[in-house]
Symmetry: C2
Subunit: 299 residues, 2 copies
């Protein structure tokens, strides 16, 4: 199948590489240095136990999505509208579009820009970039995709490429569950530039996270979302499984990159306001993260 | 009068200098470098428009409070018990003891250590140290002292030294009003290392401060304290009068010194718990400030 990945970050490169290695024709759209490396050497897929160069096409142009039957949309939440406008002219009415993004409203926002449905996907994978054209896989990799007439085709395409896929009636709820976890950890880790294991040693931090989560769950309920699973149990588990991990928001701030905080705690604050639900903890975490972001974390 | 100042920081030095210049016999107890400078050159009182060396006695020993009729207790809230134990053996039963400290419970805590009453004093002054033996006055200087049988003597001693003094039936309330202002600004300025004028430009910061203040007022009411004046009006005014100011907590963190945050937002959290009042904003501000303090603000 002809597949395009819009946004060749760590998540986009990992799934692009897995699909290319299953003989799909994959084009990745990203930054120049990265594209050059991929076109020169291939995309280096580093699975820890094995390394492999995978043949892909790199491009800096959004127009390269032209002709793709399946698009994995993997840009940051902050770039959804811009990147959507860029690919819009090159999308057919049968093109299948998946949003593999954090936050809970990207598929909807992208769908509005494109004027056609976008399937929300919850991504459970730990990856990072090891340099230009070099993606590292640290663990997991499964996807939960929303229900649509195209979902079975997507699953049938991804599964043979060793990408575990579940089609879910409640992908939105699963996106919320993931976002709530991010609302608990990301800002605290970013503001203090501290890994999860250290964070929770400070008196009061569990209480702050508990308050943030309770606010999120109240807002989710008001939005009519059923959050699946044991959210708080998952949050407690993170500290055991990833004590040395810094949140993606912490990494963004450390690198001087814009964070997705407006689509995590900031989203809860906006929705809380809409429904008249108090969200003091998310409000404080959001405002402080924005201040730290504007200031630079060294400040 | 024989007067001792326990804790020769900026506040202690300013009032010590004002009293010494009114011909009182003043001993200041502080750190070695500072004490050496004072004993060699006198204490430099820098009023902006004029500079003046004032003759005082410096000492590094708590025992130097021996024989003082009036003690100004000016150590940080974190050091109240320790410093109290140090001066205890040298205090007479008629010694007048004033607590010129931030927070609302220092007079009570010190009184418990000393086994005799301590008069709470609310300090309205902007001072800083300009170096060893050098105190700078930036503005104001008035004191509000609590009611006691000794308060009139205190007022009669301080007023001729050009220290405006008001005796108040509600000094506790005035201490709370000052602390609430600190609860609104100090942590935010410290965590983000940002002056007040910049802080409030960030969306949501006024709301965070409003939430912090509402929690403080609820806790104050539960404690039976009547907070005088227009607290929120005072908070709004700070931004106009001191836009470039960093909070004392911000300065402590920047210098790697322990902050008084446990006696500001941390106090509200503890008292809130005691009375079953939710204090999510103060909880988050306190926990994050402690994390930043442990980590160092450059981290």
């Amino acid at each position: 199948m002809k597949i395009a990945v819009m946004g060749a970050g760590a998540v986009g490169c990992y799934y692009g590489a897995m699909l290319a290695r299953a003989w799909h024709e994959v084009t990745l759209i990203g930054r120049p240095t990265h594209v050059e490396a991929m076109n020169r050497d291939g995309l280096l897929l580093d699975l820890g136990t094995s390394q492999e160069y995978v043949a892909v096409t790199g491009s800096t142009e959004a127009s390269s999505v032209d002709g793709a039957e399946l698009i994995l949309f993997c840009v940051k939440s902050t770039d959804t509208e811009d990147a959507g406008q860029q690919i819009k002219p090159f999308i057919g009415k049968d093109t299948i579009i998946l949003s593999l993004q954090n936050g809970v409203d990207n598929a909807e926002r992208l769908g509005q820009v494109l004027g056609q449905p976008v399937i929300p996907v919850v991504v459970y994978v730990a990856t990072s970039m090891g340099g230009a054209g070099h993606v590292k896989h640290h663990g997991r990799g499964e996807l939960v995709i929303g229900m649509s007439s195209q979902s079975q085709v997507v699953a049938d395409t991804l599964r043979p490429a060793r990408i575990p896929v579940e089609i879910s009636e409640n992908a939105d709820g699963a996106l919320w569950a993931k976002m709530i976890l991010n609302c608990a950890y990301n800002a605290l880790s970013a503001i203090t530039q501290t890994p999860y294991g250290e964070l929770v040693k400070q008196d009061g931090v569990w209480d702050v996270m508990r308050n943030a989560v309770d606010e999120c769950l109240a807002v989710a309920a008001a939005c009519g979302v059923t959050v699946p699973g044991d959210v708080w149990g998952a949050i407690e588990k993170i500290v055991e499984t990833m004590p040395a991990q810094f949140s993606s928001t912490a990494q963004d701030l450390a690198r001087g990159k814009p964070s997705e905080i407006d689509y995590l705690n900031g989203y809860i604050v906006r929705k809380g306001r809409e429904f008249g639900i108090a969200t003091p903890t998310n409000l404080a975490l959001h405002a402080i993260t924005r201040l730290r972001e504007l200031k630079g974390v060294a400040g």
